[in-house]
Amino acid sequence: MLALRTSAVLAAAALAIAAAPVHAQDEKKEIEKYQKMLAEGSPVELFELQGEDLWKKPQGPKHASLEKCDLGMGPGVLKGAYAHLPRYFADTGRVMDLESRLVHCMVTLQGRDYKEATKRVFGNADKPSELEYLVAYVVGKSRGVRIAVSTRNPKEKAAYELGRQLFHYRAGPWDFSCGSCHGVAGKRIRMQSLPVLDKPSGARHTYATWPAYRVSNSQMKTFQWRLNDCYRQMRFPEPTFGSDATVALTMFLAVTANGERYAGPGTKR
């Protein structure tokens, strides 16, 4: 044991050697270590628990819970449901993502008005939105299941194609598309590494760890929010919640991530 009696300041100097400066390659390794330790010690499960309560809580004029909501694998089936979304639903004749499907169940099963159910789709740390809790619970039920999003149905195929076009569509005052940041391998914005999302190598891990709990603001963030905030930073007008365009872009990213074991809800910076 280093028997060195030093005052606090000297101790700091003596120990400073231990904290060697970090070089570029170490930087990437240290940030990955930060991300790993973050995910290991995450409070995201608290959102899953509260999401389960909401899933089972009778609400709306019909005083019904969401336990019979069909997410594509049969009424109330949760295990692996998210790993197969977005998908075509015959009852609505539309390709739907998880969030638009949950709202559909609020309207049909609970008898709630669409406007009321979507009044506050994005919450905050003090008061998360209903969808943020529900999404945390539902996606958690697909953890470990391989992402398998189909494009067999013509509308699913069309959504995928539209999504790919949207991904590369450059517009707005800054001429950006999704590809501007997520199109070239090995790039980063500030310290933020940027996965290439139109190729499986980049899309798989990223898509498999969204939706996610954001430690920087202690908020559970949904995929609709993720697209919404990206378009804001691309200086575009706002995408309408649950619209075909957002579902198409989600479809493109999900299909690109097919085969990856879903690992959400994730925990991110």
């Binding site: 044991m1 280093l2 400073a16 231990a18 904290a19 930060y34 991300q35 010690g41 310290m191 920087s216």
Partner: protein, 156 residues
């Protein structure tokens, strides 16, 4: 932390939450055994004073206190810290973050078979040294690492 682990119930005048909670009958008596909140130590603004307030001003640098923390944190709101003390007879571990407004972050005391180990998430206002101090047999042993806090994301 005095030797005999005798618990001093804060004097009636103290405004500590524990006293208030007790008075309000919120807490069952055995909760009283928990050491009250060491307000004077937690309110020190200077790192040397914070160390002195927990008796760790002349702590000895020791490799037997293992502090695992990433050297870079993408955000200061959550910095994961994992601490293990291999110093025999460790009874408590304290966490000090030099450049935080109040450097003393937390103190953990271990009894009845608990291992001197803790993993927690701390907030850091800026890049800073983190020190963890293990106490064993009335002596203090310290390990320190520097954590660089960056602003993640696109700053937009």
């Amino acid at each position: 932390m005095d030797e005999g682990r005798r618990v001093i119930l804060r004097s009636a005048g103290a405004t500590g939450a524990l006293a208030v909670a007790l008075a309000a009958g919120l807490l069952k008596p055995e909760r009283v055994l928990a050491a009250a909140w060491d307000e004077s130590a937690f309110r020190q603004k200077d790192v040397a004073d914070a160390l002195k307030s927990i008796g760790a001003d002349n702590a000895v640098a020791s490799k037997e206190v293992v502090l695992d923390v990433p050297e870079i944190a993408e955000n200061g709101a959550v910095v994961p810290v994992e601490i293990t003390s291999h110093v025999p007879g460790t009874t408590s571990i304290a966490v000090v973050i030099d450049k935080n407004p109040f450097p003393l972050s937390s103190k953990f005391s271990f009894t009845e078979g608990a291992l001197p180990y803790v993993k927690l998430n701390v907030k850091m206002g800026q890049s800073s040294n983190i020190r963890v101090i293990a106490e064993a047999g009335g002596k203090h042993y310290v390990a320190m690492r520097e954590v660089k806090v960056t602003i993640g994301g696109c700053g937009g």
